[in-house]
């Protein structure tokens, strides 16, 4: 059976997010009712390429209040054992909320245009 490139792409996406479908599957093999049998598959969808500005974190200035962690709509701030570790740009859409809610006196986050990071390989994410 030959698969259209669209179907092939769909299968690739399903495999990526662990929705169990046979390699030769057609539309009849999709889960009925659009059920997504795995939880949290959106983690496979990097929204970081929406970003035009990027948060830059200063570890030295940070007082670990976690306001950035709380108010980031895209779950981008990494906290381990109650300590902020920095920002993971995979999903960061560059809204700038984190820089805004970081206490004014602390100012541990600054937003910079993505262009400044052109040569930075992190930009390739997303």
């Amino acid at each position: 059976m030959t698969l259209s490139s669209q179907t092939k792409n769909l299968l690739k996406v399903h495999q990526q997010v662990n929705v169990n479908i046979e390699p030769n599957a057609g539309w009849r093999d999709l889960p009925i009712g659009g059920v997504i049998p795995q939880a949290g598959t959106a983690t496979q969808f990097a929204t970081g390429d929406w970003r035009t500005i990027r948060p830059v974190w200063s570890k030295e200035k940070c007082i670990n209040c976690h306001r950035c962690w709380l108010y980031c709509p895209d779950m981008s701030w990494i906290s381990e054992n109650g300590q902020i570790q920095g920002v993971d740009l995979t999903y960061c859409k560059g809204c700038g909320i984190c820089a805004n809610v970081c206490p004014a006196k602390v100012h541990a986050i600054e937003m910079h245009p993505e262009d400044n990071f052109k040569d930075d390989e992190v930009v390739k994410e997303g």
Binding site: V13, H14, V17, V19, G34, I36, Q38, A39, G40, T41, A42, T43, Q44, F45, A46, T47, W50, R51, N64, C65, H66, R67, W69, L70, Y71, C72, P73, D74, M75, S76, S79, N81, G82, Q83, T90, Y91, K93, G94, C95, G96, I97, A99, N100, V101, M111
Partner: protein, 305 residues
């Protein structure tokens, strides 16, 4: 609870959802889910939250999730909760599970109101959360009965005939409290501690609970994405969105602004009210302020302040 400790709990809503940059409701979800101690089953009405978080085959939910139609999140979750109680009675489930229904303001104040009223009246043990962004945002910013007076929307376009929406929003939190449910509260994504505590109470009561949570839509409110938390905070600080709870019939204010801001200050932060400041609308602005003041006085009395 301190924030660094809150961050130690596993998160049940992930990145990779497709809400606009700077959208408010993912924060509302985060705070409420962090407050749940048990496994949760979420039902969500059609609207921005559901559409952006469950684009097949992707889902940002790390818990059981049911997409319902626009109007029936409360009915769907009533059925799920009833089935759970039956299975528990039969000894087929022993776990404690929390049930949450999320609906936008359109799905709650308007088209889902009878399903919600029924679920509350029947006494299902579920938490209904209205993530209130004051308009039908997913279909391109139409007015709802939660939209503030004077707001520009595509169905109340500001122009020579109309200075934005002519009506005041209805007080849904009071309507839900009038159902005599054990817990109803109004909260804002900007006041996380208040919202977290209210969510804990909502999960703890033995019966239905209702939370009305102001959640900025920076697209529909025409605000800068980085101002999402500030604008929600402004609504609280000018008494447009007071924070209170009604626990077993007892009304209680949970936050009192030190010196309430003029409502016009909050409106000036948002493009949806821009037209009101481009020509003389003194009379309209004054009557909006008067209404907010009157509502606030009534609330103070109800809360015995």
């Amino acid at each position: 609870m301190a924030l660094p400790d809150l961050a130690k709990k596993p998160q049940r809503f992930t990145g990779g959802h497709r809400a606009c940059a700077g959208c408010g409701f993912p924060v509302t979800i985060k705070i409420i889910l962090q407050a749940a101690e048990n496994p949760v089953v979420v039902g969500c009405a059609t609207g921005c939250m559901e559409v952006t978080s469950t684009i097949y085959p992707y889902t940002a939910w790390r818990c059981s999730f049911i997409h319902t139609a626009f109007e029936n999140a409360a009915a769907t979750m009533s059925g799920v909760e009833a089935a759970y109680r039956s299975l528990k009675r039969q000894g087929k489930i022993d776990k404690d599970i929390d049930f949450i229904a999320f609906g936008g303001d359109g799905g709650t104040y308007d088209i889902g109101l009878q399903a919600l009223s029924g679920a509350m009246e029947r006494g299902h043990k579920l938490v209904y959360v209205c993530y209130n962004n004051q308009g039908y945002m997913n279909t391109g910013i139409q007015r709802s009965s939660a939209t503030p007076r004077g707001a520009n929307t595509t169905t109340t376009p500001a122009g020579t005939h109309l200075p934005g929406k002519p009506q005041y929003p209805k007080d849904l939190t009071a309507i839900m409290a009038a159902h005599g449910i054990p817990y109803a509260a109004q909260a804002s994504m900007s006041h996380w501690n208040d919202l977290y505590r209210k969510a804990q109470k909502a999960f703890a009561v033995d019966g239905p609970a209702f939370l009305n949570v102001l959640s900025t839509c920076r697209l529909g409110w025409a605000t800068a994405p980085e101002d999402t938390v500030d604008v929600a905070e402004g609504a609280v600080q000018c008494n447009v969105w007071p924070l209170f709870e009604v626990e077993n019939g007892k009304w209680k204010l949970t936050f009192k602004p030190k010196k309430p801001l003029p409502v016009a200050d909050w409106m000036k932060q948002q493009g949806r009210f821009k037209h009101l400041f481009q020509s003389d609308n003194t009379e309209l602005l004054e009557s909006i302020q008067r209404q907010v003041d009157e509502d606030w006085q009534r609330l103070l009395e109800l809360c015995g302040e």
